[in-house]
Structure formats: structure tokens, C-alpha cells
């Protein structure tokens, strides 16, 4: 728990049920993220990780259950509402537009404009400056803000998505498989940025298959299996091996 004087979790999801027709994707799942905490959300394919996140980010309405954000009961019916609350998701493929520049991606949907009467136009100069500064402030150095995102490495792209979320005041950062398909060096960078985000006061949900990566940064691990909560384990109580066997079900709770 953080030292900022409040024990209210950033997010508390209570008894979440999600059914698709006759299939129960989530069954009575409780999920909590505390302030300035990195939570590793783990589970095999089809365990319900992404369904849980989609319920939290307003993509799917839950069949039943309650969501509290900073202690208040909320009804997140669209991704827009989730974002307004301060929940930012960085998907691997859905984060950036490859053929657009860093600046244009950074401010996409929140462009800075100047205007003369009713005519508005992009303030590219200011956006270049702010995106470069914002990324530098969190330790990400780019060659040029006008560079196309498609030319960057996977790790650089992830870091820009993370930097963008921080810049726009995210309170909770959701990283969906941020290190899959990255080299060792790139993975290290992304993990460093994740820790840096926590240092700056954010909470992070780190979704992954890779126990090794998330074990290096997470404070707590939440494990799902077949749509049910297996358990929530502080890092001190489990080893990497324990987590792996909890995911597959070799070990029960």
C-alpha cells in the first residue's frame, strides 16, 4: 500500500459475472488494484483476463457485479467513460497508427489547435514540443517527433503508448501483453518504463502469459483460470514456479 494516506483502492471489481449466451466467461470474480501498485494479471488463453479488462474499460457490460473507482460506484458503459475516469489501456496492436508521426499519434484524438474565428488548425509546432518534452520527462528519448511510428522498434512503440497515457493524466494504466514479441533488451526497457510509471504514482495492470517478465516488476499477482479467480498473491508469498503451476492448475490455490 502506498504512503499517500488513503487505503481506498483505485479499482475494486466485485463479484463480476460475464456471460456470452450460455458460456460463462467470468464467474464471480473479485479484482482489486491499489494505489501505486503493479498487479500482474495472469492466466492461460481463455482464462478470462481480457474479458475482465474489457468489462473494466467499458467494452463489455458485465452481466452482474459492481465496479468501484477510487471508492465510488461507477457504471462504465463505454471506453470513453473509462478514459474520462483515468483508465488508459495500451494494447499491443491497437496503440498507435504506424504511418503517422510520433507527434500525431501522441495527440491523436486530443490534438492541440489554434484558431482564427471559426477556422481551427493543428498547432503542430506546440504538439511536437510537448510530445518530445513529455517523453523526455519520463526518460524516453526520441530522434524526432516527426518520425513515423512504423519505423520504431516494438519497445519504443510501447514506451510511447505508456508515455502518452501518463501525459494525459492516467491513474490506472492497463498494459496488454506489453512484452510479447519483444527482444530481451526491448523487454527490459518496457519493464523499466512500467516501474517508472509506478514511481510517478500510477497503478498498473500488467496482463501477460510470461511469468518471468511480470515477476520482475509486479507487487501482486492475480490469477484466473476458466473464468474463475484462483487467487491474489503478494510477491513475497509466491515464487515464479508457484505462479506457473497456479496458472495451469497443477497446484490448487
Amino acid at each position: 500500500m502506498s504512503g499517500n494516506g488513503t487505503d481506498t483502492p483505485v479499482v475494486h471489481m466485485e463479484k463480476i459475472v460475464k456471460r456470452f449466451g450460455t458460456i460463462t466467461a467470468l464467474n464471480q470474480v473479485d479484482f482489486t488494484v491499489n494505489r501505486q501498485e503493479i498487479v500482474g494479471l495472469l492466466g492461460d488463453n481463455g482464462a478470462g483476463k481480457s474479458t475482465l479488462i474489457k468489462v473494466l474499460t467499458g467494452v463489455y457490460p458485465p452481466t452482474s457485479g459492481k465496479i468501484y473507482f477510487e471508492g465510488k460506484l461507477v457504471n462504465i458503459t463505454s471506453p470513453r467513460i473509462a478514459r474520462a475516469l483515468g483508465i488508459e489501456t495500451c494494447y499491443q496492436d491497437l496503440a498507435l497508427v504506424p504511418h503517422m508521426s510520433i507527434t500525431r499519434n501522441f495527440f491523436l484524438g486530443r490534438e492541440l489547435t489554434r484558431h482564427l474565428g471559426p477556422i481551427h488548425w493543428l498547432d503542430l509546432h506546440q504538439m511536437d514540443k510537448e510530445s518530445r518534452d513529455a517523453l523526455r520527462n519520463i526518460g524516453i528519448h526520441i530522434r524526432s517527433p516527426r518520425e513515423k511510428v512504423g519505423k520504431l522498434s516494438g519497445g519504443e512503440r510501447q514506451s510511447i503508448a505508456i508515455g502518452r497515457a501518463q501525459y494525459f493524466g492516467a491513474k490506472l494504466l492497463i498494459l496488454d501483453e506489453p512484452t510479447s514479441a519483444l527482444s530481451v533488451g526491448e523487454t527490459h526497457k518496457v519493464l523499466t518504463y512500467t516501474l517508472a510509471a509506478k514511481e510517478r504514482g500510477l497503478s498498473v495492470i500488467f496482463i501477460t502469459h510470461n511469468v518471468g517478465h511480470v515477476y520482475q516488476v509486479a507487487d501482486r499477482f492475480v490469477i484466473l483460470r476458466h473464468g474463475e479467480l484462483v487467487g491474489s498473491y503478494p510477491k513475497e508469498e509466491v515464487t515464479e514456479k508457484d505462479i506457473a503451476s497456479l496458472i495451469t492448475g497443477e497446484r490448487e490455490r
Binding site: 491497437l94 497508427v97 491523436l108 486530443r110 481551427h120 493543428l122 503542430l124
Partner: protein
Amino acid sequence: MHSLAMRWTRFRVKLAETPEAVALTSLIVVFTFFAVAAGNFLSSLALADIVTFGSIMGIIVIGVAMLMIAGEFDLSVGSNFAVASYVWADLMNAGVPPLLAMILAVLSSAILGAINGLVVIGSGLPSFIVTLGTMLAYRGIARAIGGSDFAKYTQSRPFLFDVLNGPITFLNRLFEGGTNFRVSIIWFVLIALLMAWVLNRTRFGNWVFAAGGNPGAALEQGVPVKRVKLTAFILVGVLVGLASVMQFAHRTSVDPVRGEGWELIAVSACVIGGVHLTGGVGTILGACLGMLLLTTLETGLVLMGVSVQIFRAVAGIFLILAVLLNTYLSRGE
């Protein structure tokens, strides 16, 4: 030797960042070829013909390029073009004042564009299929309005016709008799500059590139992708309507097959000009150069006494060559 290869690779990457490069180079080559091979190609008559016809098609191409950057097609532009001319002709012949009739004609094109957009967004079908359907449907509408016959405007030319597409008299006087530079050229350049500015310097333009480049990412960042695409479809309709009334103001007649085949010429011009079929990449300048290339080809071949049918064959070969070149250049990316 090694450094030469390196230098070429670097140059290639630079070229790939300039989607207009292939179209511009091809245009220069083709232009030079006809200047040498076709006797009267370098005459003011021929050049005025190229830019006058090119400007009407160019206005359509501007719209089609923007829509393709947004990740969608409109194959109904040729049919929509015919509808607008018929609407304008019939309304004026029924006694509606020319300006009001023109506004209604452009509005009808905008509505047909909106129908394309609404069906694409509502059904989730590819716009290629939807607008292939509306291409046939709108052609049917044009034929129904016109009774499968010509529509002519035979009363005295209103001033509006000259504003839209009169001859640029002071310019034509400078050249040999019969030279026919027309006002549509000026409208075309103004519209091209405006649309290039909109695409590169406005929020809407940013969203157009994002909607075509990675719609999922755009949605994630709160870009109203559907609304952006619908707006692009409507804008294409408006531009098609404007091009149509401009051409009618020149020719004062329209026939049932007007605009047939233009949809593919427009797409070809865009692709030659470096617009990606998959969306997210392209420039107005490139698409316009592509259009100018095709118009130059057509005029040049006609002047050489080659059958008009050959033009399509040559245009097709150019299309494939340009795409090959663009693909080769962008391999370095």
C-alpha cells in the same frame, strides 16, 4: 561499390517517404515522350485540353483520394456525376433559378454520398461492394431522370455558368485561336490546396489518416471513426456534384453514359499517385499528379492517332508499373 548501394538504399527510403515521386517522374517521362513523338502535343490547344478535362476529373480524384486515405472506396462517383448533371439540367429547364438548381444538384450528390457512407457503416460490408451496388443503382437513377436520353440546356447562358466554368479569356487570347483554358482549372487548384490543408493541418485530416491507418487504434484514442468516414463519403459526393455542375456549365448537355468508367480512372490516379489501397497513406498532390498523368496519356495518344481504346490498355500498364515501383520503394520502410 558498397557505399553506392548504401546510398541508393538511403535515396530509395527518401523516395518512399515522398509518395508523389513515382507519379511525378512518370509524368515528366510521359510528357517528354509525347513532346517528342506527338507532333502537336506541345501546342496550347492540347495543353489546355489536358488541364481543362484533368481539372474536372481532378476534383473527383481529390475526393476519392481522401476517402481512400480514410480506408474506403467510392465506385459510384461516375454514376453520381451523371445524376447531378441531370438534376441540374432538369431543374433549370423546369424554370428553377440556376443558382438554386445548382445547390439542389450538389445537394443530391451529397445525399447519394451520404447513402454510401450510411450503408457501409450500418452494414459493415466493404465499401468496395456497397459502392459497386450503388454505382449500378445511381446509374439507374440518372437514366430514369433523363429518360435514357440527353438533357440539354438551350436557354441563354446564365452568368453562373461563366463563374463555374467559363473560358479564361485573357489567358486564351495570349495563345493561338481555339485555345480553351477554363475556370474549372482555378476551382480545381483552389479545392486541391484546401483539401491538402484540411488533410495535413486540421484535426479532421489527422482523424482521416488514423481511421484508414489503424481504425482500432483511432477508436481507442477516442476518434469517432464512423463519423469521420461518413463525413468523407459526403465530401466525395459534394466534390462529385461540383465537378458535375462545372462540366455541365461548359458543355450544357449530359448523356446517359456520362461518367461511366471514371470510378476506376479515379482509383487508378490515386494509386499511381501513391495512395495506398489499404488506407492511411497518400497525398492530394500525388493523386492529382496521377490524374494529370492519365489525362496526358489520353490526350497524347489521341494526338498520335492511336485509338482511344488503346488508352485504357496503356493506362492499365502504367497503373501496374506505378504500383510495382511504389512497392519496391517502400520495401525499405
